[in-house]
Symmetry: C2
DNA sequence: ACTATAGGCAAGCACACACTTGCCTATCAA
DNA sequence: TTGATAGGCAAGTGTGTGCTTGCCTATAGT
């Protein structure tokens, strides 16, 4: 549960994938690959990205839909919403 | 920076240490050890916890102060505040 | 002084994990 | 059907890391 989310966020490449999907949701594996190598100089193999996407999907951070031979990946930020509330006690309201 | 924080949060034992410090800040290494083994059945060595605390401190999530032969550890939730805002775009206000 | 407590340092081990390579399947266009 | 594109599966490799063990330092009590 939370274990999967934190493990998924632990890797810098996976965080960049989330960045990429946040900027433009609904990309295919090849799109993510090429844009990561363009913008971030990340020369990773297609399988590496594919495995990262699997981890992100297992954590619920990425959802995928298949259309023909394309598989589109969408960002899901819902699991991130209250991830740190576990330790942040607001017994003293900060402002407002 | 963010790298250290996510790596620190990736380990379940470290998250339990944060839980423990959130519940009761200012504990020593031995206190954390014994309470982890009591409440969570975590029979880890003192050095294991010490190394975890070093990782948490490097991430800025834990601060320590030395007094005599005691070293007290305090939780610092500041780095956690906006950790997920990187991906959560509020271009559409959710409610309120 | 001696002893016990609180903690630090460093080497070693074993497993997890990021990444690659090679091969296979499925969809679409010619 | 043939070829090209988009993707999947599985085994192998190497580094990172969580944890242990053993020894050392420092503070406090007697």
């Amino acid at each position: 549960m939370a274990e999967d989310i934190f493990k998924a966020l632990a890797d810098p490449t996976r965080r960049k994938i989330l960045d990429e999907l946040a900027e433009r949701s609904g990309q295919t594996l090849f799109e993510i690959c090429s844009r990561l190598s363009m913008k971030h100089q990340l020369g990773l193999s297609r399988q590496a990205i594919s495995q990262h996407l699997a981890v992100l999907e297992a954590a619920g951070l990425v959802e995928s839909r298949r259309e023909g031979r394309y598989k589109f990946h969408d960002l899901n930020t819902a699991p991130l919403e209250h991830i740190a509330e576990r330790w942040i006690r607001r017994d003293a309201p900060e402002d407002s």
